[in-house]
């Protein structure tokens, strides 16, 4: 049977305990196109591609590569079929050079004096340099991974699959970790790869990217294939609708803000990083009850440090922080939580969660030491479980095995839901959200925004740190634009346009 598809997946079904990740999904991908997979977190995009890469085997269904039926049993087998994946979480050895990482597993063996085998690193260096030039991915192959920026590391990941002569390249959420400029560059690279004859599969939930580069796009929802669309003739709105199965409003609806008493007051806050360099300089601001104060700015301009300093994760080297009139500058983290701070951290896996603990334990992990979760130092496990199932229902946290699910096995969006649920349940007068929607799909973003606004309407003071300008313009009542550790401008959101905020963010405009 001949077909014009280079990859065909027919009737793929894959089940995990408690969840059907892929339910009878059939897609065909043509040679030389950019094919996007669109879907919410947990829609089954990554599972489908992991099957194509040989990391999972499907429960049902068939795969055809170049018209031939294959059973892809391992990633090595996939590599032999010229399929390569650029992972979202890089799989690189930090202490190795770029070349060493790329050739790892397929080391070219030379022979010294025709007898003693050794790794021909010099040839490999040359080959990788050539390869990187051909595809516009210039790197210095002798540099160590630990010394590279995130976007450079991603280049290495791309080179890794190109070195293995991949013809079908799968990109798993490649832009999640990149800045806007880097995203543009990467999309250019992807188009270049397509033009040189490679077939690209792009897993993403960012509609603009799909609109920009993709030719066709398959939409998945809850494991099922909804539709395959021609990108050029489909509006982003329709794509979004199909993706989450209902209409989305890109703009959150919110009632006008009603500010009440002052909750948080930050006075001349200064924070130094580990190298003793001042990353937050002399920053002052206040947040009132019923107010969403958003810090806008390009990454690494001190906004995360402000949030960390308020929550107590880093020490302020100068200035004062007042919560409800009380000076909490030198309080412990636990005391601050007790006096009323909830904190949704930027890095949910490193800070927000104990990945090896179950959901119930994680949901109670900020209250375990108090009644009713424990009494005189003895834990009450029943209370943990009860609280857990209550929150799972209330916040629609999807987990395969209920309260006993290991958090590690949950999707990113559901992990975030669990953190937000835990923090809201603390009922703190001040809530800090740092990048609450990072790596989360559109449906969930809408949901999270709704929850934040709901909390505001209940009279909480909210500090939102975000790198997404749209999010800030959408949700914030007051915007503080930070540049180089200092506020360039603090004003109500109505009085600022997106462009103005952008200019302040780049440090181009001063007050």
């Amino acid at each position: 049977m001949m077909s014009d598809y280079i990859v065909e997946m027919k009737h793929i079904t894959k089940r995990f305990p408690g969840i059907v990740a892929n339910d009878d999904v059939s897609i065909g991908i043509k040679k030389g196109e950019i094919f996007a997979l669109l879907g919410e977190n947990g829609a089954g995009k990554s599972t489908l591609m992991s099957i194509l890469c040989g990391m999972y085997e499907p429960d049902e269904g068939e795969i055809y590569i170049r018209g031939e039926k294959v059973q892809i049993s391992s990633p090595n087998h996939a590599a032999n079929l010229n399929i390569g994946m650029v992972h979202q979480h890089f799989k690189l050895v930090e202490d190795y050079t770029i070349t060493e990482n790329i050739i790892l597993g397929v080391e070219p063996i030379s022979k010294f004096a025709g007898l003693f085998p050794y790794v021909g690193i010099r040839n490999a260096n040359r080959k990788i340099e050539e390869l990187s030039k051909n595809f516009g991915l210039e790197v210095d192959p002798t540099k160590r991974i630990a010394d590279l920026t995130v976007s450079m590391q991603q280049r290495v990941e791309i080179l890794k699959v190109l070195y293995r002569e991949a013809e079908i390249l799968i990109f798993d959420e490649p832009t999640a970790v990149l800045t806007p400029q880097e995203i543009d560059f990467l999309l250019g690279i992807i188009e270049g790869l397509r033009n040189s004859g490679k077939t690209i599969i792009l897993i993403t939930h960012k509609l603009e990217e799909i609109k920009k580069v993709a030719d066709r796009c398959a939409v998945l929802n809850k494991g099922k294939l909804i539709d395959v669309l021609d990108v050029k003739t489909t509006s982003t709105n329709l794509m979004a609708q199909l993706m989450i199965g209902r209409e989305v409003s890109f703009e959150s609806e919110k009632a006008p803000a009603q500010f009440k008493e002052e909750v948080l007051k930050v006075e001349q806050l200064t924070v130094k990083n580990e190298d003793g360099f001042e990353v937050v300089k002399d920053v002052s601001f206040t947040i009132r009850s019923g107010e969403i104060f958003a810090i806008a700015g390009v990454a690494d301009n001190g906004q995360v440090e402000i949030a960390d300093a308020i929550a107590g994760l880093v020490k302020a080297s100068g200035g004062n922080i007042f919560l409800n009139g009380q000076d909490i500058t030198n309080d412990s983290i636990r005391n601050r939580t007790e006096s009323g701070i909830s904190y949704v951290p930027e890095d949910r896996q490193r800070f927000g969660l104990f990945l090896d603990f179950d959901v119930a334990t994680n949901l109670a992990s900020k209250q375990y030491y108090k009644e009713p979760f424990s009494n005189k130092g003895i834990l009450n496990k029943q209370e943990f479980d009860q609280f857990g199932s209550q929150l799972i229902d209330k916040y629609d946290i999807r987990s395969g095995q209920g309260i006993k699910t290991q958090v590690r096995s949950m999707s990113g969006g559901n992990q975030q839901k669990a953190i937000i649920a835990r923090e809201i349940e603390l009922q703190s007068p001040l809530m800090i959200f740092v990048q609450p929607t990072r790596g989360v799909d559109i449906g969930a973003i809408e949901n999270i925004h709704k929850m934040i606004i709901e909390q505001r309407d209940q009279g909480k003071a909210i500090l939102l740190v975000s790198l997404e300008l749209d999010e800030i313009m959408n949700v914030a009542d007051t915007i503080g634009v930070i540049y180089n550790g200092q506020f360039q401008k603090i004003a109500s959101s109505e009085s600022l346009t997106t462009n103005e905020v952008g200019e302040y963010m780049m440090g181009a405009k001063h007050e």
Partner: protein, 383 residues
Amino acid sequence: MSKDKKKTSLRYRLIWPLRNEKWQPISIPVASILVSFIAAAIIILLLGKNPFQAFYNLFQGAGILPKPTYAGYKSMLTDFLQLLNAMTPMVFASLAVAVALRAGLFNIGVSGQMLASGFLATIIVGYSGLDAFIAKPLVLLVGMVAGGLMGGLVGWLKYKFNIHEVVTTIMLNYISQYVISFFIHMYYIDPISRQSKYITEAARLTLVNVEIANMKMNIPLGFILAIAIAVFIKFLMDKTVVGFEIKAVGSNRNAAKYTGIKVGSNTVLAMVISGGLAGLAGVTYYLGYFGSIQPKVLTNIGFDSIAVALLGNAHPVGIIFSSFLISIIDQGSTYMSSQAGIRQEIASVIIGLILLFSACSAYVKYKVSRLKDKEVDRKDSES
């Protein structure tokens, strides 16, 4: 065809306990024990001896099975009590390793902590001539405090200066080994045995040569304490706020800090508990099983306990069983070598094999889950 099917179903039934994740904590150690006995049997066969005979002798020597004849004043019970006597420090030492492991720390210094606490208890109480009712609890107390302080020092160095605990514990092993051997040689040496002088009977945690029903037995008082402490540690780790915080720090230090847990003091606390348990191992070893200290020697128990703790899944009840087994092989080895004519070292080989296979448990888990996937696929393609 039908024969083939039978084969698969038999295989299926045999490995079922290994496949079921709920049973894996028990089935994998049991399987590794079985596999290592089979491996040992092959070795014994290669030596031209009967493995069943050897294993039988092993259990006879440990007092689990009766020997054909006993010397005067001895019986199976005597042997069995001696087994418990030897097992007691092993339980404590493995608990020490397990508590540290739960906090994400690797206490490789159990031997040094045992020696230091055993030595301090010996010179403070062992030679004091105090009454038994005061001396015995005092020995336990001194051991616990000395070990706890030494463990605490390791935790504090980690918290304050970020020195890795493996480095400090190994260094402290050497320091205690040589400093203590200096003091023993200078002040406490018994010129005949070339060991430290024997402690008083009153301070000893094992009642030696007690005559009951015309038998002479060694009654290890520490054993009851060991079981009680194991149950207490299980309770502490699973059911209390203290245990929760220690496990949280062990699971993810960053997240623990973020939730408001004091990472530093919990690191120190976990090491104090671990050291205190090692101290109890030290006093039940040097002032219980033995009555003196051999200078310049670190006991193997401290190192074996790492593997025993792993074999018991770092779980207190599991540790009781794994120490029991390892002690049986240890204790039975003398009798086995005299009866079956197999060198005593074969017992060490068996222990080594068990520990080796149990250390492979992560691999077994992985392999089993791979096999499961494969089997599902095969079934699909068949149907």
